[in-house]
Protein backbone atom coordinates (compact mmCIF):
# COMPACT_ATOMS: atom_id res chain seq x y z
CA UNK A 1 0.00 0.00 0.00
CA UNK A 2 1.51 3.28 -1.04
CA UNK A 3 0.23 6.86 -0.75
CA UNK A 4 -0.94 6.60 -4.36
CA UNK A 5 -3.43 3.88 -3.48
CA UNK A 6 -4.97 5.97 -0.72
CA UNK A 7 -5.19 9.07 -2.88
CA UNK A 8 -6.75 7.01 -5.67
CA UNK A 9 -9.31 5.62 -3.23
CA UNK A 10 -10.05 9.15 -2.02
CA UNK A 11 -10.42 10.48 -5.55
CA UNK A 12 -12.64 7.53 -6.49
CA UNK A 13 -14.91 8.09 -3.50
CA UNK A 14 -15.06 11.80 -4.26
CA UNK A 15 -16.09 11.22 -7.87
CA UNK A 16 -18.71 8.64 -6.85
CA UNK A 17 -20.09 11.10 -4.31
CA UNK A 18 -20.05 13.94 -6.83
CA UNK A 19 -21.87 11.80 -9.39
CA UNK A 20 -24.42 10.69 -6.80
CA UNK A 21 -25.05 14.21 -5.52
CA UNK A 22 -25.68 15.46 -9.04
CA UNK A 23 -27.89 12.59 -10.22
CA UNK A 24 -29.82 11.34 -7.16
CA UNK A 25 -33.44 12.42 -6.99
CA UNK A 26 -34.06 11.63 -3.34
CA UNK A 27 -32.81 14.12 -0.77
CA UNK A 28 -31.57 11.33 1.49
CA UNK A 29 -29.62 9.88 -1.43
CA UNK A 30 -28.02 13.25 -2.11
CA UNK A 31 -27.11 13.54 1.57
CA UNK A 32 -25.42 10.14 1.49
CA UNK A 33 -23.46 11.09 -1.61
CA UNK A 34 -22.29 14.28 0.06
CA UNK A 35 -21.13 12.20 3.04
CA UNK A 36 -19.01 10.16 0.62
CA UNK A 37 -17.37 13.37 -0.58
CA UNK A 38 -16.57 14.39 3.00
CA UNK A 39 -15.06 10.99 3.69
CA UNK A 40 -12.96 11.14 0.55
CA UNK A 41 -11.39 14.28 1.99
CA UNK A 42 -10.85 12.51 5.32
CA UNK A 43 -8.98 9.64 3.64
CA UNK A 44 -6.80 12.16 1.83
CA UNK A 45 -6.05 14.04 5.03
CA UNK A 46 -5.17 10.98 7.09
CA UNK A 47 -3.07 9.38 4.35
CA UNK A 48 -1.17 12.56 3.56
CA UNK A 49 -0.52 13.13 7.23
CA UNK A 50 1.09 9.75 7.81
CA UNK A 51 2.95 9.45 4.49
CA UNK A 52 3.97 13.00 3.56
CA UNK A 53 3.99 15.05 6.75
CA UNK A 54 4.46 12.61 9.64
CA UNK A 55 5.95 15.29 11.88
CA UNK A 56 2.65 17.05 12.70
CA UNK A 57 -0.94 16.09 13.34
CA UNK A 58 -2.65 18.88 11.39
CA UNK A 59 -4.21 16.49 8.89
CA UNK A 60 -5.64 14.12 11.49
CA UNK A 61 -6.96 17.05 13.54
CA UNK A 62 -8.70 18.48 10.52
CA UNK A 63 -10.18 15.07 9.71
CA UNK A 64 -11.70 14.88 13.19
CA UNK A 65 -13.17 18.35 12.75
CA UNK A 66 -14.59 17.32 9.38
CA UNK A 67 -16.23 14.21 10.87
CA UNK A 68 -17.80 16.29 13.64
CA UNK A 69 -19.07 19.00 11.34
CA UNK A 70 -20.38 16.47 8.82
CA UNK A 71 -22.41 14.84 11.59
CA UNK A 72 -23.87 18.22 12.55
CA UNK A 73 -24.64 18.88 8.91
CA UNK A 74 -26.58 15.61 8.62
CA UNK A 75 -28.60 16.46 11.72
CA UNK A 76 -29.68 19.79 10.26
CA UNK A 77 -30.32 18.19 6.88
CA UNK A 78 -32.52 15.41 8.23
CA UNK A 79 -34.46 17.91 10.34
CA UNK A 80 -35.15 19.94 7.21
CA UNK A 81 -36.15 16.81 5.28
CA UNK A 82 -38.59 15.94 8.07
CA UNK A 83 -40.06 19.46 8.02
CA UNK A 84 -40.55 19.27 4.28
CA UNK A 85 -41.98 15.77 4.47
CA UNK A 86 -44.54 16.81 7.08
CA UNK A 87 -45.83 19.61 4.88
CA UNK A 88 -45.67 18.09 1.42
CA UNK A 89 -45.18 14.32 1.95
CA UNK A 90 -42.28 14.06 -0.46
CA UNK A 91 -38.50 13.79 -0.33
CA UNK A 92 -37.88 13.94 -4.08
CA UNK A 93 -36.14 17.02 -5.35
CA UNK A 94 -38.19 17.28 -8.53
CA UNK A 95 -41.27 17.94 -6.38
CA UNK A 96 -39.68 21.04 -4.86
CA UNK A 97 -40.98 23.39 -7.52
CA UNK A 98 -42.92 26.01 -5.60
CA UNK A 99 -40.15 28.57 -5.99
CA UNK A 100 -39.00 29.39 -9.48
CA UNK A 101 -38.49 32.24 -11.88
Amino acid sequence: MSLGHYLLLGAGLFVIGLFGALTRRNVIGILMSIELMFNAANINLAACNSYLHPAGVAGMTLAIFVITVAAAEVVVGLALVLAVYRNSATAYVEDFSLLKG
Binding site: A41, A72, F96, L99
Partner: protein, 483 residues
Amino acid sequence: MQNLNLLTPEIALCLLGLGLMLADLLLSVRRARLLYHLAWFSCLVALGLVLYAPSWAGAIPGGGALWVVDHMSQFFKAVVLICAILALMLSLPYKPLPDAQAGTFSALLLFSTAGMMFLVSATDLLLVFVALELISLSSFVLAGFERRNRKSNEGAIKYFLFGAFSSAIMVYGISLYYAAMGTTHLTAVGPASPALALAMLFILLGFGFKAAMAPMHFWVPDAYEGAPTPVTTFLSVAPKIATMGVLARVFMVLVPASGMQMTVLLALLAMLTMTVGNTIAIYQDNVKRMLAYSSVAQAGYILIGIVSGNALGLEGVLLYSAVYVAMNVGAFAVVQAVGEHEGSYGLKSFDGLSRRCLPVALVMAVFLLSLAGIPPLAGFIGKFYLFASAIDAGRAAGSGSLIFYALALVGVLNSVVSVFYYMKIVYHMFFLPPRQKEGGAPALAVGPYIYGCLAVTLAAVLFFGLWPESLIAHVKFSAQHLP
Protein backbone atom coordinates in the same frame (compact mmCIF):
# COMPACT_ATOMS: atom_id res chain seq x y z
CA MET B 1 0.86 32.53 21.67
CA GLN B 2 -2.71 31.71 22.51
CA ASN B 3 -4.01 35.25 23.03
CA LEU B 4 -7.46 33.97 23.87
CA ASN B 5 -8.42 37.37 25.23
CA LEU B 6 -8.57 38.57 21.62
CA LEU B 7 -11.64 36.40 21.18
CA THR B 8 -13.60 38.11 23.97
CA PRO B 9 -16.29 39.49 21.62
CA GLU B 10 -16.91 36.11 19.96
CA ILE B 11 -16.92 34.23 23.26
CA ALA B 12 -19.30 36.79 24.78
CA LEU B 13 -21.62 36.52 21.79
CA CYS B 14 -21.70 32.70 21.90
CA LEU B 15 -22.33 32.66 25.66
CA LEU B 16 -25.10 35.23 25.35
CA GLY B 17 -26.59 33.14 22.53
CA LEU B 18 -26.63 30.06 24.76
CA GLY B 19 -28.17 32.21 27.49
CA LEU B 20 -30.95 33.24 25.12
CA MET B 21 -31.69 29.58 24.37
CA LEU B 22 -32.03 28.90 28.09
CA ALA B 23 -34.09 32.04 28.68
CA ASP B 24 -36.44 30.78 25.97
CA LEU B 25 -37.39 27.91 28.27
CA LEU B 26 -38.02 30.13 31.28
CA LEU B 27 -40.00 32.92 29.66
CA SER B 28 -43.71 32.62 28.92
CA VAL B 29 -44.74 32.83 25.28
CA ARG B 30 -46.47 36.17 25.81
CA ARG B 31 -43.21 37.81 26.79
CA ALA B 32 -41.09 35.93 24.24
CA ARG B 33 -40.54 39.00 22.05
CA LEU B 34 -38.43 40.34 24.89
CA LEU B 35 -35.75 37.89 23.76
CA TYR B 36 -35.24 39.82 20.51
CA HIS B 37 -34.43 42.87 22.59
CA LEU B 38 -31.99 40.83 24.66
CA ALA B 39 -30.45 39.50 21.46
CA TRP B 40 -29.79 42.86 19.88
CA PHE B 41 -28.48 44.09 23.19
CA SER B 42 -26.06 41.12 23.19
CA CYS B 43 -24.88 42.16 19.75
CA LEU B 44 -24.44 45.68 21.04
CA VAL B 45 -22.28 44.34 23.88
CA ALA B 46 -20.13 42.40 21.40
CA LEU B 47 -19.91 45.48 19.21
CA GLY B 48 -18.71 47.48 22.18
CA LEU B 49 -16.04 44.86 22.90
CA VAL B 50 -14.94 44.90 19.25
CA LEU B 51 -14.70 48.68 19.13
CA TYR B 52 -13.06 48.91 22.52
CA ALA B 53 -10.20 46.63 21.55
CA PRO B 54 -8.39 47.93 18.48
CA SER B 55 -6.09 50.59 19.77
CA TRP B 56 -3.06 48.38 19.20
CA ALA B 57 -0.75 48.86 16.32
CA GLY B 58 -0.60 46.18 13.70
CA ALA B 59 -1.91 42.65 13.62
CA ILE B 60 -1.91 40.25 16.55
CA PRO B 61 -1.96 36.51 15.82
CA GLY B 62 -3.81 34.16 18.13
CA GLY B 63 -4.24 30.43 18.75
CA GLY B 64 -0.79 29.74 17.32
CA ALA B 65 -1.50 31.02 13.84
CA LEU B 66 -5.17 30.13 13.59
CA TRP B 67 -6.54 33.64 13.49
CA VAL B 68 -5.35 37.17 13.49
CA VAL B 69 -6.91 40.28 14.93
CA ASP B 70 -6.15 43.45 13.02
CA HIS B 71 -7.93 46.61 11.97
CA MET B 72 -9.50 44.96 8.94
CA SER B 73 -10.97 42.08 10.93
CA GLN B 74 -12.32 44.55 13.52
CA PHE B 75 -13.92 46.58 10.74
CA PHE B 76 -15.71 43.57 9.27
CA LYS B 77 -16.73 42.34 12.72
CA ALA B 78 -18.32 45.69 13.49
CA VAL B 79 -20.17 45.72 10.16
CA VAL B 80 -21.43 42.15 10.64
CA LEU B 81 -22.64 42.93 14.15
CA ILE B 82 -24.51 45.98 12.87
CA CYS B 83 -26.17 43.71 10.26
CA ALA B 84 -27.26 41.37 13.05
CA ILE B 85 -28.69 44.23 15.12
CA LEU B 86 -30.66 45.56 12.16
CA ALA B 87 -31.93 42.07 11.26
CA LEU B 88 -33.11 41.53 14.84
CA MET B 89 -34.89 44.89 14.74
CA LEU B 90 -36.68 43.75 11.60
CA SER B 91 -37.58 40.41 13.22
CA LEU B 92 -39.40 42.14 16.07
CA PRO B 93 -42.48 43.21 14.08
CA TYR B 94 -42.41 40.23 11.69
CA LYS B 95 -45.54 38.19 12.42
CA PRO B 96 -44.92 34.79 10.76
CA LEU B 97 -42.04 34.02 13.13
CA PRO B 98 -43.41 31.81 15.93
CA ASP B 99 -43.26 33.55 19.31
CA ALA B 100 -42.54 30.31 21.12
CA GLN B 101 -39.20 29.93 19.32
CA ALA B 102 -38.02 33.53 19.64
CA GLY B 103 -35.06 32.45 21.77
CA THR B 104 -33.93 29.77 19.34
CA PHE B 105 -34.26 32.16 16.44
CA SER B 106 -32.20 34.92 17.99
CA ALA B 107 -29.64 32.45 19.38
CA LEU B 108 -29.12 30.97 15.90
CA LEU B 109 -28.73 34.44 14.47
CA LEU B 110 -26.12 35.21 17.12
CA PHE B 111 -24.22 31.95 16.44
CA SER B 112 -24.22 32.71 12.74
CA THR B 113 -22.85 36.18 13.50
CA ALA B 114 -20.15 34.67 15.72
CA GLY B 115 -19.21 32.37 12.82
CA MET B 116 -18.78 35.40 10.58
CA MET B 117 -16.62 37.10 13.18
CA PHE B 118 -14.37 34.02 13.29
CA LEU B 119 -14.32 33.88 9.52
CA VAL B 120 -13.03 37.40 8.95
CA SER B 121 -10.18 36.77 11.39
CA ALA B 122 -9.20 33.35 10.07
CA THR B 123 -5.77 32.74 8.60
CA ASP B 124 -5.95 28.96 8.73
CA LEU B 125 -8.11 26.70 6.59
CA LEU B 126 -9.20 24.72 9.65
CA LEU B 127 -10.78 27.81 11.21
CA VAL B 128 -12.11 28.94 7.81
CA PHE B 129 -13.90 25.62 7.40
CA VAL B 130 -15.35 25.51 10.90
CA ALA B 131 -16.45 29.15 10.75
CA LEU B 132 -18.09 28.68 7.34
CA GLU B 133 -19.96 25.65 8.67
CA LEU B 134 -21.07 27.54 11.78
CA ILE B 135 -22.52 30.24 9.54
CA SER B 136 -24.08 27.72 7.15
CA LEU B 137 -25.65 25.40 9.70
CA SER B 138 -27.28 28.30 11.56
CA SER B 139 -28.47 29.92 8.34
CA PHE B 140 -30.02 26.69 7.01
CA VAL B 141 -32.24 26.51 10.07
CA LEU B 142 -32.99 30.23 9.98
CA ALA B 143 -34.02 30.04 6.32
CA GLY B 144 -36.50 27.28 7.12
CA PHE B 145 -37.76 28.83 10.31
CA GLU B 146 -41.38 29.20 9.16
CA ARG B 147 -42.01 25.51 9.63
CA ARG B 148 -45.59 25.49 8.33
CA ASN B 149 -44.72 27.50 5.24
CA ARG B 150 -43.92 25.22 2.33
CA LYS B 151 -41.95 27.92 0.52
CA SER B 152 -39.74 28.39 3.55
CA ASN B 153 -39.14 24.61 3.77
CA GLU B 154 -38.32 24.37 0.12
CA GLY B 155 -35.96 27.34 0.11
CA ALA B 156 -34.18 25.97 3.18
CA ILE B 157 -33.69 22.50 1.74
CA LYS B 158 -32.34 23.87 -1.54
CA TYR B 159 -30.02 26.13 0.44
CA PHE B 160 -28.93 23.15 2.52
CA LEU B 161 -28.24 20.85 -0.42
CA PHE B 162 -26.16 23.44 -2.26
CA GLY B 163 -24.40 24.39 0.96
CA ALA B 164 -23.49 20.85 1.98
CA PHE B 165 -22.39 20.05 -1.57
CA SER B 166 -20.11 23.05 -1.86
CA SER B 167 -18.62 22.57 1.59
CA ALA B 168 -17.83 18.94 0.71
CA ILE B 169 -15.99 20.15 -2.37
CA MET B 170 -14.23 22.77 -0.27
CA VAL B 171 -13.06 20.18 2.26
CA TYR B 172 -11.65 18.09 -0.55
CA GLY B 173 -9.83 21.20 -1.74
CA ILE B 174 -8.47 21.74 1.76
CA SER B 175 -7.20 18.15 1.85
CA LEU B 176 -5.37 18.75 -1.44
CA TYR B 177 -3.93 21.98 -0.04
CA TYR B 178 -2.70 20.07 2.99
CA ALA B 179 -1.18 17.38 0.79
CA ALA B 180 0.74 19.96 -1.20
CA MET B 181 1.77 22.29 1.62
CA GLY B 182 1.98 20.10 4.73
CA THR B 183 0.00 22.67 6.70
CA THR B 184 -3.47 24.16 6.68
CA HIS B 185 -2.08 27.59 7.39
CA LEU B 186 -2.65 30.03 4.54
CA THR B 187 0.73 31.26 3.37
CA ALA B 188 2.13 32.62 0.17
CA VAL B 189 2.93 29.77 -2.18
CA GLY B 190 5.63 29.55 -4.77
CA PRO B 191 4.96 28.49 -8.36
CA ALA B 192 1.58 26.82 -8.36
CA SER B 193 1.62 23.06 -8.79
CA PRO B 194 -1.46 21.48 -10.41
CA ALA B 195 -2.59 20.01 -7.08
CA LEU B 196 -2.35 23.39 -5.40
CA ALA B 197 -4.18 25.13 -8.23
CA LEU B 198 -6.99 22.58 -7.98
CA ALA B 199 -7.03 23.01 -4.20
CA MET B 200 -7.38 26.79 -4.42
CA LEU B 201 -10.08 26.38 -7.07
CA PHE B 202 -12.11 24.09 -4.81
CA ILE B 203 -11.61 26.40 -1.84
CA LEU B 204 -12.71 29.35 -3.95
CA LEU B 205 -15.83 27.38 -4.81
CA GLY B 206 -16.67 27.05 -1.13
CA PHE B 207 -16.29 30.79 -0.62
CA GLY B 208 -18.19 31.47 -3.81
CA PHE B 209 -21.19 29.61 -2.48
CA LYS B 210 -21.43 31.78 0.64
CA ALA B 211 -20.77 35.00 -1.26
CA ALA B 212 -23.27 33.95 -3.98
CA MET B 213 -20.84 34.24 -6.87
CA ALA B 214 -22.19 33.37 -10.28
CA PRO B 215 -21.78 29.68 -11.01
CA MET B 216 -22.68 28.95 -7.37
CA HIS B 217 -25.67 31.30 -7.09
CA PHE B 218 -28.53 28.91 -7.88
CA TRP B 219 -29.67 28.65 -4.29
CA VAL B 220 -29.87 32.42 -3.82
CA PRO B 221 -33.27 33.33 -5.29
CA ASP B 222 -35.07 30.30 -3.83
CA ALA B 223 -33.56 30.57 -0.36
CA TYR B 224 -34.11 34.34 -0.27
CA GLU B 225 -37.70 34.12 -1.44
CA GLY B 226 -38.62 31.30 0.91
CA ALA B 227 -36.86 32.54 4.03
CA PRO B 228 -38.62 34.86 6.51
CA THR B 229 -37.93 38.40 5.31
CA PRO B 230 -35.71 39.47 8.26
CA VAL B 231 -33.62 36.35 7.63
CA THR B 232 -33.43 37.22 3.94
CA THR B 233 -32.20 40.65 4.93
CA PHE B 234 -29.56 39.12 7.16
CA LEU B 235 -28.47 36.48 4.62
CA SER B 236 -28.22 39.01 1.82
CA VAL B 237 -25.74 41.17 3.69
CA ALA B 238 -23.88 39.56 6.57
CA PRO B 239 -22.49 36.27 5.15
CA LYS B 240 -21.67 38.01 1.91
CA ILE B 241 -19.72 40.77 3.64
CA ALA B 242 -17.90 38.27 5.87
CA THR B 243 -16.99 36.09 2.89
CA MET B 244 -15.76 39.12 0.99
CA GLY B 245 -13.64 39.96 4.03
CA VAL B 246 -12.02 36.54 4.11
CA LEU B 247 -11.68 36.45 0.31
CA ALA B 248 -9.88 39.78 0.46
CA ARG B 249 -7.61 38.46 3.19
CA VAL B 250 -6.88 35.18 1.40
CA PHE B 251 -6.56 36.31 -2.21
CA MET B 252 -5.04 39.75 -1.66
CA VAL B 253 -2.76 39.22 1.32
CA LEU B 254 -2.09 35.61 2.31
CA VAL B 255 -2.10 33.76 -1.02
CA PRO B 256 -2.07 36.57 -3.60
CA ALA B 257 -4.19 35.65 -6.62
CA SER B 258 -1.60 37.18 -8.95
CA GLY B 259 1.03 34.75 -7.63
CA MET B 260 -1.25 31.81 -8.40
CA GLN B 261 -2.14 33.04 -11.90
CA MET B 262 -5.73 33.23 -10.72
CA THR B 263 -6.36 36.88 -11.54
CA VAL B 264 -7.95 36.16 -14.90
CA LEU B 265 -10.17 33.44 -13.44
CA LEU B 266 -11.33 35.74 -10.63
CA ALA B 267 -11.92 38.55 -13.11
CA LEU B 268 -14.06 36.29 -15.29
CA LEU B 269 -16.01 35.14 -12.23
CA ALA B 270 -16.63 38.77 -11.24
CA MET B 271 -17.86 39.63 -14.72
CA LEU B 272 -20.08 36.56 -14.86
CA THR B 273 -21.49 37.28 -11.39
CA MET B 274 -22.41 40.86 -12.26
CA THR B 275 -23.88 40.00 -15.62
CA VAL B 276 -25.88 36.96 -14.51
CA GLY B 277 -27.29 38.79 -11.47
CA ASN B 278 -28.34 41.88 -13.36
CA THR B 279 -29.67 40.12 -16.45
CA ILE B 280 -31.90 37.67 -14.60
CA ALA B 281 -33.09 40.37 -12.18
CA ILE B 282 -34.73 42.19 -15.11
CA TYR B 283 -37.18 39.34 -15.65
CA GLN B 284 -38.33 38.98 -12.04
CA ASP B 285 -41.76 40.10 -10.91
CA ASN B 286 -41.27 39.18 -7.26
CA VAL B 287 -39.39 41.95 -5.49
CA LYS B 288 -37.69 39.58 -3.05
CA ARG B 289 -36.34 37.53 -5.96
CA MET B 290 -35.35 40.67 -7.84
CA LEU B 291 -33.35 41.92 -4.86
CA ALA B 292 -31.86 38.43 -4.49
CA TYR B 293 -30.46 38.61 -8.01
CA SER B 294 -29.43 42.19 -7.37
CA SER B 295 -27.43 40.99 -4.36
CA VAL B 296 -25.69 38.45 -6.61
CA ALA B 297 -24.70 41.32 -8.88
CA GLN B 298 -23.51 43.39 -5.92
CA ALA B 299 -21.18 40.54 -4.92
CA GLY B 300 -19.70 40.82 -8.41
CA TYR B 301 -18.98 44.53 -7.90
CA ILE B 302 -17.20 43.86 -4.61
CA LEU B 303 -15.18 41.12 -6.31
CA ILE B 304 -13.72 43.75 -8.67
CA GLY B 305 -11.77 45.19 -5.76
CA ILE B 306 -10.37 41.77 -4.86
CA VAL B 307 -9.32 41.10 -8.46
CA SER B 308 -7.51 44.44 -8.65
CA GLY B 309 -5.40 43.37 -5.71
CA ASN B 310 -4.07 46.86 -4.90
CA ALA B 311 -4.54 49.08 -1.88
CA LEU B 312 -7.32 51.00 -3.59
CA GLY B 313 -9.12 47.72 -4.27
CA LEU B 314 -8.91 46.65 -0.65
CA GLU B 315 -10.25 50.01 0.49
CA GLY B 316 -12.99 49.70 -2.09
CA VAL B 317 -14.00 46.28 -0.75
CA LEU B 318 -14.26 47.64 2.79
CA LEU B 319 -16.03 50.82 1.73
CA TYR B 320 -18.55 49.08 -0.50
CA SER B 321 -19.24 46.41 2.13
CA ALA B 322 -20.23 49.03 4.70
CA VAL B 323 -22.30 51.01 2.22
CA TYR B 324 -23.94 47.89 0.80
CA VAL B 325 -25.16 46.90 4.25
CA ALA B 326 -26.91 50.25 4.70
CA MET B 327 -28.65 50.34 1.35
CA ASN B 328 -29.60 46.67 1.12
CA VAL B 329 -30.96 46.43 4.66
CA GLY B 330 -32.95 49.60 4.02
CA ALA B 331 -34.43 48.25 0.78
CA PHE B 332 -35.36 44.95 2.42
CA ALA B 333 -36.95 46.77 5.37
CA VAL B 334 -39.32 48.51 2.96
CA VAL B 335 -39.97 45.23 1.14
CA GLN B 336 -40.83 43.61 4.47
CA ALA B 337 -43.23 46.41 5.44
CA VAL B 338 -45.01 46.34 2.08
CA GLY B 339 -44.97 42.56 1.74
CA GLU B 340 -46.42 41.95 5.18
CA HIS B 341 -49.10 44.56 4.63
CA GLU B 342 -50.10 43.22 1.21
CA GLY B 343 -49.51 39.55 1.89
CA SER B 344 -47.46 39.24 -1.28
CA TYR B 345 -44.01 40.26 -2.45
CA GLY B 346 -45.03 40.72 -6.09
CA LEU B 347 -44.15 43.91 -7.94
CA LYS B 348 -47.86 44.73 -7.95
CA SER B 349 -47.87 45.16 -4.15
CA PHE B 350 -45.77 48.27 -4.74
CA ASP B 351 -48.37 49.87 -7.04
CA GLY B 352 -49.10 53.43 -5.96
CA LEU B 353 -47.03 53.21 -2.79
CA SER B 354 -46.32 56.92 -3.07
CA ARG B 355 -50.03 57.63 -2.56
CA ARG B 356 -50.37 55.20 0.31
CA CYS B 357 -47.27 56.21 2.23
CA LEU B 358 -45.11 58.83 0.59
CA PRO B 359 -42.14 58.80 3.01
CA VAL B 360 -41.60 55.06 2.63
CA ALA B 361 -41.81 55.31 -1.16
CA LEU B 362 -39.27 58.15 -1.20
CA VAL B 363 -36.89 56.29 1.11
CA MET B 364 -37.15 53.15 -1.04
CA ALA B 365 -36.35 55.23 -4.12
CA VAL B 366 -33.22 56.54 -2.37
CA PHE B 367 -32.05 53.00 -1.51
CA LEU B 368 -32.68 51.75 -5.05
CA LEU B 369 -30.86 54.70 -6.60
CA SER B 370 -27.96 54.06 -4.24
CA LEU B 371 -27.90 50.36 -5.18
CA ALA B 372 -27.80 51.41 -8.82
CA GLY B 373 -24.90 53.76 -8.05
CA ILE B 374 -26.44 57.15 -8.84
CA PRO B 375 -24.11 60.01 -7.79
CA PRO B 376 -24.94 61.87 -4.64
CA LEU B 377 -25.61 58.63 -2.77
CA ALA B 378 -23.29 56.26 -0.95
CA GLY B 379 -23.47 53.46 -3.53
CA PHE B 380 -21.81 55.71 -6.05
CA ILE B 381 -18.80 56.38 -3.85
CA GLY B 382 -18.29 52.64 -3.32
CA LYS B 383 -18.63 51.76 -6.98
CA PHE B 384 -16.36 54.62 -7.97
CA TYR B 385 -13.66 53.27 -5.66
CA LEU B 386 -14.00 49.73 -7.03
CA PHE B 387 -13.95 50.72 -10.70
CA ALA B 388 -11.07 53.12 -10.08
CA SER B 389 -9.09 50.31 -8.47
CA ALA B 390 -9.57 48.17 -11.59
CA ILE B 391 -8.37 51.03 -13.84
CA ASP B 392 -5.43 51.59 -11.50
CA ALA B 393 -4.48 47.91 -11.58
CA GLY B 394 -4.75 47.98 -15.38
CA ARG B 395 -2.41 50.93 -15.57
CA ALA B 396 0.12 49.18 -13.34
CA ALA B 397 -0.15 45.80 -15.05
CA GLY B 398 1.40 46.66 -18.41
CA SER B 399 0.83 43.83 -20.86
CA GLY B 400 -1.89 42.05 -18.90
CA SER B 401 -3.92 45.21 -18.43
CA LEU B 402 -6.73 44.35 -20.83
CA ILE B 403 -8.56 42.15 -18.34
CA PHE B 404 -8.68 44.97 -15.76
CA TYR B 405 -10.01 47.51 -18.24
CA ALA B 406 -12.58 44.96 -19.42
CA LEU B 407 -13.56 44.38 -15.80
CA ALA B 408 -14.15 48.09 -15.19
CA LEU B 409 -16.09 48.38 -18.44
CA VAL B 410 -18.32 45.39 -17.65
CA GLY B 411 -18.90 46.87 -14.18
CA VAL B 412 -20.04 50.21 -15.60
CA LEU B 413 -22.26 48.58 -18.23
CA ASN B 414 -23.83 46.38 -15.57
CA SER B 415 -24.59 49.42 -13.42
CA VAL B 416 -26.47 50.87 -16.38
CA VAL B 417 -28.45 47.66 -16.84
CA SER B 418 -29.25 47.55 -13.14
CA VAL B 419 -30.83 51.01 -13.27
CA PHE B 420 -33.56 49.51 -15.46
CA TYR B 421 -34.91 47.01 -12.97
CA TYR B 422 -34.40 49.20 -9.91
CA MET B 423 -36.39 51.90 -11.65
CA LYS B 424 -39.09 49.38 -12.44
CA ILE B 425 -39.87 49.27 -8.73
CA VAL B 426 -39.82 53.08 -8.60
CA TYR B 427 -42.19 53.18 -11.58
CA HIS B 428 -44.61 50.87 -9.78
CA MET B 429 -44.40 52.99 -6.62
CA PHE B 430 -44.89 56.42 -8.18
CA PHE B 431 -46.63 56.09 -11.54
CA LEU B 432 -49.17 53.35 -11.11
CA PRO B 433 -52.45 53.78 -9.24
CA PRO B 434 -52.87 51.76 -6.04
CA ARG B 435 -54.82 48.57 -6.41
CA GLN B 436 -58.41 49.37 -5.54
CA LYS B 437 -59.96 47.54 -2.65
CA GLU B 438 -63.36 48.25 -1.17
CA GLY B 439 -63.22 51.46 0.85
CA GLY B 440 -60.34 52.96 -1.12
CA ALA B 441 -56.66 52.02 -0.99
CA PRO B 442 -55.56 51.45 2.59
CA ALA B 443 -52.63 53.49 3.82
CA LEU B 444 -49.50 51.51 4.59
CA ALA B 445 -48.95 51.05 8.30
CA VAL B 446 -45.28 50.95 9.27
CA GLY B 447 -44.23 50.03 12.78
CA PRO B 448 -41.67 51.86 14.90
CA TYR B 449 -38.95 49.22 14.48
CA ILE B 450 -39.06 49.36 10.71
CA TYR B 451 -39.11 53.16 10.85
CA GLY B 452 -36.07 53.02 13.12
CA CYS B 453 -34.21 50.73 10.71
CA LEU B 454 -35.13 52.95 7.79
CA ALA B 455 -33.97 56.06 9.62
CA VAL B 456 -30.57 54.56 10.48
CA THR B 457 -29.91 53.14 7.02
CA LEU B 458 -31.18 56.25 5.23
CA ALA B 459 -28.95 58.45 7.37
CA ALA B 460 -25.98 56.22 6.53
CA VAL B 461 -26.70 56.21 2.79
CA LEU B 462 -27.11 60.01 2.64
CA PHE B 463 -24.28 60.83 5.03
CA PHE B 464 -21.70 58.55 3.40
CA GLY B 465 -22.86 59.73 0.00
CA LEU B 466 -22.52 63.44 0.72
CA TRP B 467 -19.63 63.37 3.21
CA PRO B 468 -17.69 60.21 2.43
CA GLU B 469 -14.48 61.54 4.01
CA SER B 470 -15.13 60.14 7.47
CA LEU B 471 -15.81 56.64 6.15
CA ILE B 472 -12.90 56.79 3.70
CA ALA B 473 -10.53 57.81 6.48
CA HIS B 474 -11.78 54.92 8.59
CA VAL B 475 -11.44 52.48 5.71
CA LYS B 476 -7.90 53.63 4.94
CA PHE B 477 -7.03 53.12 8.61
CA SER B 478 -8.57 49.63 8.61
CA ALA B 479 -6.91 48.48 5.40
CA GLN B 480 -3.37 48.97 6.67
CA HIS B 481 -1.32 46.64 8.88
CA LEU B 482 -2.36 43.41 7.27
CA PRO B 483 -0.51 40.28 8.41
